[in-house]
Each structure stands twice: as C-alpha cells, then as structure tokens.
Symmetry: D2
Subunit: 224 residues, 4 copies
C-alpha cells in the first residue's frame, strides 16, 4: 500500500512551533516532500518569498503561532492585539493569496489552517488571541466557499488540549490552572501531537476532497 501523502509537496509554516514538529515528522513518514519553514512571516514579502521559492505546492499547512498574555480584557494592550493580528491573520492572507493562483490553475490543492478551539468557545483571558483565531475561521469559511468550484480545499481545525511546544508545553501541564481546565474536557486527557497531526493529515490528503471552508473542532469533546 502506498503512503498517504506520497509525492505531495507540503509547506509547513512556523515549523518549530505549535503543530509544526509533529506535522513535519508525520507527513514525512507518509511520503510527503515537506518544506519546513521557520522564517518570520511578519517580515515584508516573507510569505510571498516562501511561496515563490517553494515552486509547486500541493498543500499549505498554515500553522501560525503567537503567544498571548493571559490577561483580563481590561489589561490587554493594543500591542498584544496587533501582535496576534500580525502573526496569525496577515500571514494567513499573504500565504493564501500567494499560493492560491497555482492551485486554482491546476484545479487541485489544499490549504489546512491550524486553528484554535478558543475561537469556538468563549474562554476568559484570551480576548486578543481568540479574536485573531476567529478571524482565521471566518476567513477560511469565505475563501473555502470561494474556491470550492476549482476543486481547492481550504479548511481549518479549531483545536485545544493538544500537546505542543507553544500552548501545552510540559511546564504548563504542571500548573494548577491546567489541572483545573483538563477536568472540563470529556476526554480527561490531552491529545498527543501525533494524534492531532493525523487529523491534519486527513485534511491535507486525498480523502478530504468534499470539504470546503469547514471548521473542525478538535478538543476531546470540550466544544461539544
């Protein structure tokens, strides 16, 4: 049996953050030719350059990370809101705009946005972060509907409670806040990064061809 991403050229952004490490590892195991990118995508032309250098791109995994303060909304400064926007929203548009033309032309391609369940369920102390993640979801719905007719699949997850170096590192798992929060998750446990990467592989792979602009919660039942 052939590997599930055999021969696919896949860009993974922010490859050291969030779902980057697990996605790169799994996708390579499944035969993908992975471009694991680590550049700062807030720099002018960075997104455009990445796509240009990559040549043919079958799959873009828009894995974008930014860390939030965890403050109450009254304490969240403009700088934090702007940072979320600069790291999570602007690069998503720049990457999408740069990569879509080749996908539309070939009438094939996938954009998988790694999003957050915080945009799906109101969670105190996440106002700026949630806003940017919500922007991603609405963007995906719109673009997904727009390019569906060309056979290009643009979809997103809304994940939480997944082990990853950015949002659920070992040191956070040792806190009381974490222990309180995990009790509210029906699963009663974190997902491993690999499990979550498997769902991203489903979205990136040949079997997701009838999904367009959809947001998939991935949260151990927390959003159900």
């Amino acid at each position: 049996m052939s590997k599930r991403l055999e021969g696919r050229r896949v860009i993974v952004t922010d490859a050291d953050d969030f779902m980057g490490p697990d996605v790169v590892t799994l996708f390579q195991e499944e035969g993908a030719e992975v471009i694991a990118d680590r550049r700062d995508l807030t720099a002018p032309s960075a997104a455009e350059n990445l796509i240009k250098e990559a040549g043919r791109v079958d799959v873009l995994v828009a894995n974008l990370a930014a860390t939030f303060s965890g403050e109450l909304v009254q304490q969240i400064e403009d700088a934090e809101l702007d940072l979320m926007y600069d790291r999570l929203v602007r690069p998503l548009h720049k990457l999408t705009r740069a990569v879509l033309p080749q996908m539309v032309e070939r009438r094939a391609g996938k954009i998988v946005v790694v999003g957050s369940a915080v945009a799906l369920k109101g969670t105190p102390r996440r106002a700026a972060y949630a806003a940017a993640r919500g922007a991603q979801h609405a963007y995906v719905r719109t673009v997904g509907a727009e390019v569906a007719a060309f056979g290009v699949n643009v979809n997103a997850t809304g994940q939480s409670f997944v082990e990853n170096p950015t949002y659920f590192p070992p040191e956070y798992q040792a806190t009381d806040e974490f222990r309180t929060r995990i009790k509210q998750v029906p699963a009663g446990r974190l997902s491993t990064g690999r499990e979550a990467a498997q769902f991203l592989m489903f979205l990136a792979g040949p079997e997701s061809g009838f999904f367009f602009g959809q947001i998939f919660a991935y949260s151990g039942g927390w959003t159900v």
Copy 2:
C-alpha cells in the same frame, strides 16, 4: 504498511441502503472483518440480537435509512413521522445500549452514526425526516460526552449530496429538482460514495481517538 482497519470487527447496519454498500466495500479492503447486516431493525429484539450474535464489536456503523415523502409540513402524516422515528431513532438507541457495555468494559470502541446535513440546515419538505436526523445528532452529542471518559468514541456525520442508492440514486440525479439543488452546493458536484466512506473510515479507525460526541458536516460546502 498495514491496512487501516486491520483486524477490526465492524457492524454495518442497513447494509444495502444509504452508505451501506460503499462502507462495506471500503472497510473490507482496509482489512476489517465486516458484519454486513440487513435485518429489519424495527422488529422487536432485532438490534439486541444483532449485537449478541456479533460477539466482539470494535466498531458499530449505525447506518440507518428511511425514505421521506417530500411533502410540505401540512401534508406530513403522523405515520411518516412515526416511521422516521422507528427506523432512525429507536434502532440507534437499541444498538447503542446493546453494544456500549462491551466497549466501556474494554475501554475501547467506536460508534459512527451516518447522519444527515438536513438536520444542520433548514431544508423545506423534510420536516419529519429532519426531526429524526436531528434526534440522532443530539443523541450522539450526549452519549459521546457521557462515554468519553471510557475512551469510547461516539460521533456522527451530517451528510448530503453524496451518491448513494437511498437518497441520491441515478434517477433522482436526472430530475430538475436535483439540478436546482446542486447549484447551491459550493462543490458543484456530488461526492462519490467512496469518498464519503473514507471519512467514515477515519471516524471508525485508530485516528479518531480525540473526537467525542461530535457532528461532522459532509456536504461539499453546502452547510458552511
């Protein structure tokens, strides 16, 4: 590489209807030991007997079918409402109640309910059918949350615009009604049954372990 459902014992109900044929074929190709059941599940004890006869069940694909009149709500008779309930809701509960104890005991197992997108988006002339499909979704959310702590995954699709012998047979695809409806689907086409079965396989397989009580639209962007 091993097959994706290698060694799993899977029940598929109403095996000649709805997603039955495509699920049976694909799951067998992927190594599952499939019990393709065709009995009338409205008969007393039918659901209980099926589970008893099956012995170990790793996956239950609750693929239940019933055809609706397509009448306006003022013309829908009690008999149609009752039929939908008898075919789509009662057997789901009887099957679930019969199969869950062994899954809970083994702390492993999957129930995949093949549902309808009509329960997700208001669609004229489907009142009785939509009600029963909506009952399935709410049931799945509740049971999914209830058994999550035991590592049992209960999830459902809400599908539409998928080729299958029950709801989108070739003769329906030749109607004007169909041609009007398909224009409202961003995909602009039907899903093949096999494509849809691949997503059901994802839910039935080892990679869906962090989903509990979730409803997945599968509709070519129609519900987005």
Copy 3:
C-alpha cells in the same frame, strides 16, 4: 404606549409545566388573549381539537414538557425514549400541522417552541431527552425555512438553567448535583422564569419578523 401583545390570541400548551406559568402571566400582562391549555396532548386528536376550538391563533407557544430518568444511556429503556417522543415531538408536529394553514392563509403568525439547551451541548445522562429536544430543533429549522416565504415565523429556544416547576424546581436547586452544575454556568445563577418568558415574548411579538427557523440558546452563557 400600547402593550406588546395587545389583541394577540396566543395558545400556551402544557400551561402548568415548564415555562407555562410564567409565559401565561407575562403574556396576559402584555395584553394577549391567552388560551392556557392543560390537556394531555398525547391523546388522539387532542392537538387538532385544541387548534379547532381556539379559532384564530396568532401565536402558538409550543411549551411541551416531559421528565427524564437521568440514567446512563445503557439504562435508558425504550419506554423512556418513546415517552419523550410522544410528549415532545409528536404533539409539536400535530400542533404545527393544525395551526399552520390559517397562519399561511393570513400570511402572519408565530410558532415559538420552548426547547432545551441539552440539545445544543452534550450533557451526560440525558440521552433520550436530548434526542427529542434535538428533533424539535431540526424540525423548527426545516419548517421555519419552509414557511418563511409566507411571513410566518417559526423559531425555538434552547434553554437551560431557568427556574421552572418541571426542570429546576426548588427541591432540585437544593441538591449537590445542582450546585456543581451551576458553577459551570458563566452567569453563576439561574434565570428567573419571568426573564426567560420575556425572551419568548420577543419571539412571539411583533419585533421578531425577520427570524425564521432559528434556534436561540438561552442558558446564561453555558453554551457559548
């Protein structure tokens, strides 16, 4: 200023249960001519008779109640599932079918279904009840879309954490289960029945004319 339901003829079913008492009181204060019905709507022809006797009906408040066992899904008997269906789903259809023709003919009218948030959020030990409440919601979406063109508004709430004699009576509020549950509600308190009735009045009144087939969570933030 005139009262908000001045001159409207309103049926309220199960008038002693669930939201019945608060709706009847408030709607009468606001000028409605309320037909507070208490008959058993599971009896043959009961729903049809109610509508026939009522004559002109401007608003139907489909307030239907049934109490559940609170058992785990493995312990829920067919009789409970059937009871939920018989009390919550069948009467809704019979009432709707009987009252819609006059509303469609006048191109005016409102059906307000008092539903449950349990159909919106997976809640353990509510499988049969949630299924019936989910059927109501899907039914409302479908019928709401179907009769929108006639200017008839069919909508529902999905409420929880509201004081009422059926689901949140004083004795339940004294239990540990209740005290645990209320902590998970952002509001941190129950809604009074009157507050909830005010939202139902909004849906029943002249200001809800652009809502069709919509489900409104009413739960103190529990579903957000």
Copy 4:
C-alpha cells in the same frame, strides 16, 4: 407603561453608518439618552476619549462600519485587510477596554456589537471583511464569558440583508447581484433598519440579562 430604555445612557458609534441612524432614532424614542458619536475611531485615543467624555455609560452599541472591495481573495490587498482590522477590530477592543471598568464596578452594563452574518456563513468575495467580522464574534464570546460573573452582558448580532446606508443602500438594491442574492434568503425580502434596531434594543435593554457572549444571526433565515 414606561419606555423601554428610559434613562439609559447609550453610546452609538459610527452613528451615520451601518445601523447607526436607525438605532439612534429608535433608542431615543424609547427614552434613551443617546450619545451619537461620529468621530474617526481609528485615530489614537479616539475610543478612550469618547468613553471619558461620555461619563456614565449604561450601554455601548459598538456599531462599526467599513466597506470592502468585493474582490476575489487573490486580489485583496494588505491595505484592505488592514483597513478592516483598523476599523472593525481595534476600535472594538479599545472601546471595550475603556468602558468595561465602570460596568464591572457597577455590576451592570451592556455592550452590543453590531456584527455581520458574513462571519457565520462562507460568502465569496468577502475574505478580508469576513475575517474582521469573525474576529469581532470570537472576541465577544470570550469577553462575554469573562465578564458574565459581574452581570455585564456582552453580545453581538451577525446580521445581513438589512436596509442600511453602508451595506444595503438603495443603489445596491437595484443591482442584479442583489436580486440574485435576495432569492437565497428564505424571507425573500430585506429587513427594514427599524426591525433590526428593535432586536438591538432587546439586547441593549433590561430583558437580555441572561445572555452572555452570544452571537445572534439576524438574516431572514439565510444562515439557518
């Protein structure tokens, strides 16, 4: 009977745009003391100054408007994305941050965000606009959950197909694009601005006390 917003001090931002004119008129009729603001909220300190000048604020109607290009996503420039963010997202946070402390202190207050249904349903040619409107919704969910315990109600609409000078002016209603779009709306018509303002009044008034962080579609059934 007293007026419904008697004695309430209400800020309405962008008072000449979007829902501004209808909200100001209706709220004044209903007894509110309306501060109809027209300043450019993208200017530094503009939001803070508005709140400071206003003194006591019982209700903030965050009515923020920005017009989009209507281009396909490949043609949407960074400047448009930034403009949407600068007009729809940043001022919402600045206003919220400035006004919440007095509401939290009094344990009373309402923030009503006039949002767009484009954030709820994938709509081609709206990528940048939808992203900003999606950010608003996720922000509202988060802040709504965060301040619920203080009795402050933060909620939003997701509206479309409402007559207003910004998005559905008479000249747009004369286009073929409009005529095609309105056919997809179950209502088959636009809402008047006054009807929509009545729902905003419900959210701004004394009867919305049990809603926290909720998004209300208002779209003539288009999102159902």
